[in-house]
């Protein structure tokens, strides 16, 4: 397998599980993220998930990190090769959505699908949380139905409301807080993706699975 391990400064390493972002690459990256989340390895200060990649930052100063990179990292990566990517149990989350987004008509026009069909295709599959980024708690979910793949909006909106459910490229995501944004907004949810006051502030973690449920405006 075409993995790469690159140093990222003296205290971090970036591991890529392939450049093609194939199903195998993504599944491997998610299995590794699950393993790191459920059984945090000793001496690892922090990990960050990318598309088909993971960043590893060990504890300690430059010298301790270099030692970790020599003694612990190679064995850890070898163990990842035998991780069963099918058996990485993740949390399954259902997210109720009111599909009345400001870009729904535009998405319908651009894809040539009726609004009902757009909704059916968006709700019709299970997504994986590939990573969280852009803003705290913002999930990049994939893969989106190929008929819904659209480039980002030419002009990002200066303000997208909190809870907006949106699509871009092969992904769908949810804006946890109001921000600027270039994705096509097709709906909204009352689900709280990031609640700093909660004991567990984040609803989703890399590797979790998500299903969207179409609900009426009265249900949220």
């Amino acid at each position: 397998m075409d993995w790469s391990v690159e140093p990222y400064g003296p205290r971090a390493w970036l591991v890529r599980f392939g450049r093609d972002l194939s199903g195998e690459t993504m599944a491997r990256a998610l299995a590794v993220a699950r393993a790191l989340e459920t059984k945090p390895p000793e001496g690892l200060r922090e990990f960050t998930t990318g598309f088909g990649s993971v960043l590893l930052e060990p504890e300690g100063d430059d010298e301790a990190a270099a030692r970790w990179g020599r003694r612990v990292l190679p064995e850890m990566i070898e163990n990842w090769r035998v991780l069963d990517v099918e058996k990485t149990a993740a949390k399954a989350v259902e997210i109720p959505v009111v599909y009345d987004g400001e870009d729904l008509a535009e998405v319908s026009r651009l894809t040539g699908l009726g609004a009902g069909e757009v909704i059916a295709r968006h709700t019709g599959r299970e997504y994986r949380v590939w990573l969280l980024g852009f803003a705290p708690g913002f999930p990049y979910l994939g893969m989106l139905d190929a008929a819904l793949h659209l480039p980002r909006r030419d002009t990002p909106r200066p303000r997208v409301a909190a809870g907006s459910v949106a699509i871009a490229g092969g992904q769908t995501g949810i804006y946890p807080a109001a921000s600027a944004g270039g994705w096509h907004v097709i709906g909204r949810t009352a689900a709280k993706l990031f609640d700093p006051a909660a004991p567990d502030p984040f609803l989703l973690r890399p590797g979790d699975s998500v299903r969207f449920l179409a609900v009426g405006a009265d249900d949220v």
Partner: protein, 282 residues
């Protein structure tokens, strides 16, 4: 008990609460955050007789103005914007302090004996507006202290004339970024041969540099984790130094990485100043 000390007359180019930030949550999309110049922030706290890690007010560039609602001591450190850094001053009730004359550096820090009282989110008072974590200080805000700022534990606090120096033109040693090997020899040579101008597009997320175009491979890259201190080469071939509030993932190739000390020095170079990158030690 709270002591209302300073009223914000103007936040200037930017005034925020900052402490050591929120490390350990990048995988949830939370940038590390925290003071742009940890050394200057620590100096402000030392001057005020505080532990170095206490929350301080961070001022950007210039323009901030405050009025004292009561008598009290105020420590100023970091960039020079009028009031001398490295000094603890006694503010009289009603006295105004204006950081309206930019002289050197970018970020200045204000501390009070005993510490400020600032809202804490996810274990830190650091404000990162882009991430929806707290909000910047605004006109009319009242900055309160945990102790009477007129009665410091160590009385009176001693001035320690600042040895800090904020040059407009600096050189910093880099480490290899994860895409180092994917840049051509010519691209890397241009990166190190150029004296990069710090543009006016600088904030807590990043510092954009101009001066040359670094050729990058045209292939788009899937988003991958980004560390603060990364030098990313954007689509137009321009370098951006990712700072404390920068995004945790991104799709631009990273030619180099700057350690905390180099990053702190870069943060204090004002627009119009310049940077030179020194090749990594082999």
């Amino acid at each position: 008990m709270m002591f209302e000390f300073l009223e914000v007359i103007s936040p200037g180019c930017g005034a925020t609460w900052q402490d050591a930030g929120r490390p350990g949550r990048k995988r949830f999309g939370v940038p590390p955050g925290g003071w742009m110049d940890a050394e200057a922030a620590g100096e402000a706290n030392r001057l005020a007789g505080n532990a170095e890690e206490m929350v301080v007010v961070e001022l950007a560039l210039q323009g901030a103005r405050f009025r004292a609602r009561r008598e009290g001591w105020l420590a100023v450190a970091g960039a020079s914007m009028g009031p001398a850094p490295g000094v603890v001053r006694k503010m009289a009730r009603g006295e105004e302090l204006a950081f309206t004359r930019h002289e050197a550096g970018v970020y200045a820090y204000l501390a009070v004996p005993g510490g400020w009282s600032a809202p804490v989110i996810l274990g830190s008072a650091s404000v990162s507006e882009r991430s929806g974590l707290g909000r910047a200080l605004a006109r009319g805000d009242i900055l309160s202290c945990r102790h009477d700022p007129a009665r410091p534990g160590r009385c009176p606090p001693e001035d320690a004339p600042s040895a800090a120096f904020y040059p407009r033109n600096i050189a910093v040693r880099v480490w290899r970024g994860p895409q180092w090997a994917e840049f051509s020899h010519a691209a890397r040579a241009a990166f190190f041969a150029t004296r990069w101008a710090v543009s006016s597009q600088l904030d807590r997320m990043g510092v954009r540099l101009t001066g040359a175009v670094i050729p990058t491979s045209p292939a788009t890259m899937p988003s991958e984790p980004v560390l603060a201190g990364s030098v990313q080469i954007t689509g137009g071939g321009q370098p951006v130094v990712t700072m404390r509030d920068g995004p945790t993932v991104g799709g631009y190739p990273k030619i180099a990485w700057l350690d905390d000390e180099a990053c702190r020095r870069v943060a204090q170079v004002p627009p119009g100043g310049s940077l030179e990158f020194l090749p990594p030690d082999e």
